[in-house]
Amino acid sequence: MKPLPDARAQHTDRVRRAHGAARWRAALLDGLLAWYILGGTVWFLRWWTHPPAVSGGAPEAFSPALHLGLLVGGVLLGLLWSSIRTSPGRMAVARTTPLLRGDAPKPAGGFWRTWHGRAVLYALALTLGLGLRITQVDLYALFSREGLAGARRIFEALAQPNLSIAGVVFDKMVETIFVALMATVAAVPVAFVLSFAAARNLSRHSAGAMALYSLVRFLANLTRSIEPVLWAIIFSVWVSFGPFGGMLALFVHSVASLIKLYSEQIESVDTGPIEAIEATGAGRLQTIWYAVVPQVVLPYLSYTIYRWDINVRMATIIGLVGGGGVGELLMQYFGLGRYNEVGTIVLFITAVVWTMDWLSAKVREAIA
């Protein structure tokens, strides 16, 4: 057996396959960009030709046929575009794929001088224009007489909190803090176990571990990309409104976030001890327990406290949609237009968030 040519061939083979996959990713990127430029430009053209009925309002919505046309146009343009070596998608993919970085094209005079670069700049300008129009930026509303009068009304009320409800607010605040605490405490063991499966450096050794890695990563990313407020809405249907639903929402989101933070910590551990323990003939579990865990416990603790801190803030927000605690109370008073009471609650929340912030910084400092 001639191992050397064999390994070389394997390498070139890998590069070739990477090129193949890169073409598709590039086509996707170029397609997205083409679709965006096309759609954005048409939006502005229509805003020009069919001005909105109300000044500052949005133009008439795109018809389904137009949407479809734009999508098909984007896909076709993207495919065409990505057949050019210096298209934005091709450039981006070539520069972010380690195996291909050496082959990334270098256009004369730089990317921004080519028409591809100009297209990207146009898309950025388009984004600014669309942003201003779509969010209906209206400085008049912000600084008009009526606007300022409203601002004064609410700030005056907030500045004169009604302290007679302090007792109720205190109780609800305690509820919020405990919702956050329970969610964090319950999330830690789950995330701890799963984080080892979600660490790339511990999964490379076998195809099965790699499959588990991908699965856990995928689920965690998916869960994390659903905001806690959405989870709260889901659980409010599942277990009905209240602190328990809020706790579950924060729990789910915390597990996913902690998996990410924890597993990144595992991926950055010193590999020396891992090799040393492996070399003694130790099994995988023993290696993880003796070489990895001691390196990550303190960072884990620090992340956990940080997470609790975040959860306290989120618990107040979740309360707004029915997740119990002080947020729910705030929503009630707000609905009644009782801004002095809202002021009391805001005061409490601010105090607690500051304290938590300070406390968690101190604790993390102490264990670092």
Partner: protein
């Protein structure tokens, strides 16, 4: 196993890393029981790769490695664990578990032989603990058992690493530049413990070294690697100026460690 049979036979060993670098190109050599074999060569010549192939921290691309008569490259799971238990390893950067006590670090040398759950619960037997303490005494750190590994100096950490490998009761000890990050006098103290392991406990040693003076003083035989191939094999005393230039390049000058 016969006493005079070679403990390690490496035949036509190749290693090409995933990035296409051919670190070993057909390395063959034999180690007899009780030898203290030095491995020298420029940095990048493949010394670490060679040692790491022997206990399969690195997967060889092809070739044969026979340890005590058994083919290491064909081993998996339990066999590999059993072979690794009989092959100690010492690293340039010591690779101790820094947050654990010195004694626990020595005890980890036994992990392969201890059940998973018992070891995770930290329940090592009294005999194992006594042996770990004894080994710490041998490397001159008898009073440091309860200290965190991170609190020791480099030379002390390397001695703990030697104790950890001796905890395995190894037949073979792989040392990958064990003194490269230590100062000269500490280097000698660490090399002397390896020498003691070799002469008193009969552990065969394969040691990557940077300095020829250490090779001459401690090893019984030497192989030199250049670009993944063996270019010299013989007695350390016979490496003269001409050989030295061949191994380390024309511009090289020998530096001595006192």
């Amino acid at each position: 196993m016969q006493e005079d049979a070679p403990i390690l036979e490496v035949k036509d060993l190749w290693k090409t890393y995933d990035n296409g670098v051919a670190a070993l190109r057909g390395v063959s050599f034999t180690v007899r029981r009780g030898e203290f074999l030095g491995v020298i060569g420029l940095s990048g010549s493949g010394k670490s790769t060679l040692l790491r192939c022997i206990n399969r921290l690195v997967e060889p691309s092809s070739g044969s490695i026979r340890f005590g008569g058994a083919e290491v490259t064909a081993m998996g799971g339990k066999d590999l664990s059993a072979a690794r238990q009989r092959i100690g390893m010492v690293f340039q950067h010591f690779n101790l578990v820094k947050r654990k006590s010195v004694l626990t670090n020595v005890l980890t040398g036994r992990l392969g032989a201890v059940g998973t759950w018992r070891s995770i619960a930290g329940r090592f037997s009294p005999e194992e603990r006594a042996r770990a303490a004894e080994l710490l005494g041998i490397v001159g750190l008898g009073d440091k058992g309860d200290v965190r590994a991170s609190e020791l100096s480099g030379g002390q950490q390397q001695r703990v690493a030697i104790a950890r490998s001796l905890m395995q009761r190894p037949d073979l000890l792989l040392a990958d530049e064990p003194v490269a990050s230590l100062d000269p006098s500490t280097s000698h103290s660490v090399m002397r413990y390896l020498e003691q392991a070799n002469q008193e406990f009969g552990v065969t040693i394969l040691c990557n070294l940077h300095f020829l003076s250490l090779v001459r003083q401690y090893t019984t035989r030497v192989i030199a690697l250049q670009a993944g191939q063996i270019v010299y094999e013989g007695s350390p005393q016979e490496i003269d100026e001409a050989w030295f230039r061949r191994i380390y390049g024309e511009e090289a000058k020998e530096v001595r460690i006192q």
